[in-house]
């Protein structure tokens, strides 16, 4: 993490949810061995639909 640009980029990746799929793969492999995981596209679409089907609120 010596490189600050790299650190910011990694933070943005984490915050924007780009890394979520990699974590999902790890959790899926551990909890459902043998069952094929969703593809990146399927996973992303499912997460997006879920997020907005149950909207929180935001500040003005």
């Amino acid at each position: 993490m010596a490189n600050p640009v790299r650190a910011i980029w990694d933070y943005l990746k984490e915050i924007s949810g780009e890394n979520a799929y990699d974590r999902y793969l790890a959790i899926h492999a551990a909890t459902h061995p043998g069952k094929p995981p969703m593809s990146r596209g399927e996973y992303y679409r499912a997460r997006q639909d879920e997020k907005y089907a149950n909207p929180g609120s935001r500040c003005p």
Binding site: Y24, Q48, P55, G56, S57
Partner: protein
């Protein structure tokens, strides 16, 4: 432990902070540099975070890191999931920060820079951040229950119903006010209208890219989107310079209102991936980026503050931007940034389900709110660095200003400030607009302030580009206001579907198309009405609607603080109940005083019903009376419009005030019952379970069974 080594640095920060405050309050110089304000704020935040937030964490709430959070116990890899505290901080901040902290301080600047600044800083430390942190904690202890659910369970069904009314009505007023800000910023501005319209195709492009071409690659598509946005701003400049195109992109306020209403409805009915989700990414990155740039810009240019400490409007209540004296109206107009009830909805929804460790409610709840407050301070700085004459010519009730720079200059002289017609024209030319007179709503003022600061920075490199920066700022504000309009309409739609679904089942299914369309239409009709009324209000819509929005927002804060106080008393922490109790008392005093004045004041500039009476007299007499004319009404039709608007606004004020009284009365029955011992304090916390995560979220080796 060496006491000096431990606290020495804090003594230093306290001295720096106190000196900055001293300069702000007492300096005799001509103008005061904004740097003093910046450092006074930062030092105050640091001390509050180190000492007060820690006191709340350890003594008042008593967070327990050996207790598993809902994210750990219920981890499903979706809505419940332990998230790194730094990432969650970013998410939470993006969710609470919107256009509110940018608009309120700009309007409050009419009273001078000091009242608003003190409230933003003191308010966030003692009230706003406390509300966010405690609500987050209590919701986390209840597996992420919403504020409404907590109000129902901890106070009773009456409190719950009042919370629901507050949420729905605040949503409608909020969306109307924000949409009104956009209309005022884009009317008669081909540059602004074009670049904002371009965000629609850009968003659709991003949506298709994210959904089908390169799913989930959020960062690269956001970079593409931001690049296209900048092109759209540059393109807007060309459009505004070539007359046939400029004419085609020049819209009246009513055309923009119609477009926004249609847009809001369509965006709410469409699947989210088309518009809302990509816009969400775009506006989040724009928001964080612009705020960071603004902080750097202010730190580099250190502009002087041209607005005086106090103007006479703080005391006589005759301000041309909005009517009413310092108390209570500064505390109503500046909601976000100091105390915002809306945050209680965020703090009791998504965020509590993602916290790794209980003690992290301090950085996330308290810390994120401090940053939002800092945004409000920067908005205040941007507004008060403007020439006060320009500020009033932009923000005063347009009916008083007239249409020309000459009439505006005269009107500003009447307010006790001075600005030449030439200055008004040259300011407009510098930002690439035909006129800046009567551009109410806060956004254009802020954009002029921001563009001056950014131009100061880029000017160092030889190109000021103020017109580009002005439209960059307008686009940035309009973009995330529209995102709030999309998202808010959708939230309101779901609430209505849920409400009707209790009576008629099929409605509760979010995907049922007729339900979707009817509920969307209802919510859009709600805010659309207020938007239309605001745009056509003969007395200027913002000054009528913004106080109402503030009151609704503070009503929600009262609900959140009441829930917090109730839970503290139930936890047996009566000793510390003042931590939420005092902000609640203050909030109730402010909100009820403001409501009282809005309902009963005999001054027609403030009281809705006094205004209504004057309008009615005029209509009956068949000609405008002096009161109406002094307010800025021009015809009997204006008086009719005022009659309708004031009736609606007045009735709403009554509903809000009654709702606050009911919630507090209902809860205090509970408080006294518990203190006297006649009521059993029933806590609905989820039971204790041991945590197996360390503070970085790593699994701790489980001890073998029987070892304990």
């Amino acid at each position: 432990m060496n006491l000096l080594g431990r606290y020495g640095i804090w003594v230093g920060i306290a001295i720096v902070g106190a000196s900055c405050w001293g300069v702000l309050a007492l300096s005799q110089g001509e103008t005061i540099n904004a740097g003093w304000l910046l450092f006074a704020a930062l030092a105050s935040y640091a001390i509050a975070y180190r000492f007060y937030a820690r006191f709340i964490r350890d003594r008042v709430l008593g967070t327990d890191d050996s207790r598993a959070t809902p994210a750990e116990r219920l981890n499903n890899g979706r809505d419940f999931e332990p998230m790194d505290r730094r990432v969650l901080f970013g998410h939470h901040f993006a969710a609470i920060a919107g256009a509110g902290p940018l608009v309120g301080p700009v309007l409050a600047a009419q009273m001078g820079f000091l009242p608003g600044t003190i409230w933003i800083i003191v308010g966030v430390i003692l009230a706003g951040a406390v509300q966010d942190m405690t609500t987050l904690f209590f919701s986390m202890r209840r597996d992420g229950k919403s504020l409404g659910q907590m109000a129902r369970e901890e106070i009773g069904p009456v409190g719950g119903a009042a919370a629901l009314i507050a949420v729905l009505s605040i949503m409608v007023i909020l969306l109307a006010v924000l949409a009104l800000v956009v209309v005022n910023a884009l009317a008669a501005s081909p540059w602004g209208a074009f670049s904002l319209a371009m965000t629609l195709p850009i968003a659709v492009l991003m949506g298709v890219y994210l959904r089908f071409l390169r799913p989930g690659r959020v960062l690269e598509v956001s970079l593409i989107g931001i690049g296209l946005l900048i092109l759209a701003i540059i393109g807007g400049g060309w459009i505004s310079e070539s007359s046939p195109y400029a004419e085609a992109w020049t819209f009246t306020p009513n055309q923009l209102t119609f477009a926004l209403i249609v847009y809001g409805f369509v965006a709410s009915v469409l699947p989210v991936w088309v518009l809302l989700a990509p816009r969400d990414y775009l506006s989040t990155f724009m928001k964080i980026g612009t705020i960071a740039l603004l902080a750097v810009g202010i730190a580099i240019t250190l502009p002087p503050m041209n607005m005086p400490r106090f103007t006479e409007f703080a005391f006589n209540g005759q301000g041309p931007v909005f009517a009413g004296a310092l108390f209570p109206f500064v505390f109503i107009i500046i909601a976000c940034g100091a105390l915002s009830g809306f945050h209680a909805l965020v703090a009791s929804g998504t965020t509590p389900k993602l916290i790794q460790k209980e003690s992290q409610v301090r950085p996330i709840g308290y810390g994120a709110m401090l940053v939002e407050s800092f945004v409000a301070v920067m908005a205040m700085i941007a507004a008060v660095t403007l020439d006060p004459g320009v500020y009033f010519a932009m923000n005063a009730n347009p009916a008083l200003l007239g249409d020309t720079v000459q009439s505006a200059s005269q009107a500003v002289n009447g307010f006790g400030f001075s600005v030449s017609p030439q200055t008004l024209q040259s300011t407009a030319n510098a930002v690439g607009e035909d006129s800046i007179v009567g551009r109410t709503g806060g956004a254009p003022t802020l954009a002029v302030g921001i563009s001056a600061i950014f131009a100061g920075v880029t000017g160092i490199f030889g190109a000021a580009l103020q017109a580009f920066w002005y439209h960059f700022a307008i686009m940035f504000e309009a973009l995330f206001i529209l995102t709030t309009v999309d998202a808010g309409t959708r939230v309101g739609r779901f609430m209505i579907q849920d409400l009707i679904g209790n009576v008629w089942r099929p409605f509760a299914r979010p995907s049922w198309l007729p339900g979707n369309i009817i509920a969307s239409a209802l919510i859009v009709a709600g805010w659309g009405y207020f938007l239309w009324a605001g745009v056509n209000d003969p007395l200027g819509g913002i000054n009528q609607l913004f106080p109402l929005f503030g009151i609704a927002n503070q009503l929600l804060a009262a609900v959140a603080l009441t829930v917090g106080t109730t839970i503290l008393i139930k936890m047996g922490k009566f000793r510390y109940a003042w931590v939420t109790g005092l902000p609640l008392a203050w909030d109730a005093a402010v909100t009820l005083t403001a409501s009282w004045q809005k309902i009963f004041s005999t001054d027609p500039a403030i009281g809705f019903f006094a205004q209504r009476a004057a309008a009615q007299q005029s209509i009956q007499a068949g000609q405008l009376n002096d009161t109406m004319a002094a307010l800025g009404a021009a015809s009997i039709d204006d008086a009719r419009q005022i009659l309708v608007n004031t009736t609606v606004d007045g009735v709403l004020s009554i509903v809000f005030a009654v709702a606050i009284i009911i919630v507090i009365a209902d809860a205090s029955r509970m408080w006294f019952g518990i203190i006297r011992g006649s009521k059993e304090p029933e806590l609905s916390e989820a039971p204790w379970q041991e945590s197996h995560l360390d503070s970085e979220g790593n699994e701790i080796e489980r001890e073998p069974v029987g070892a304990r």
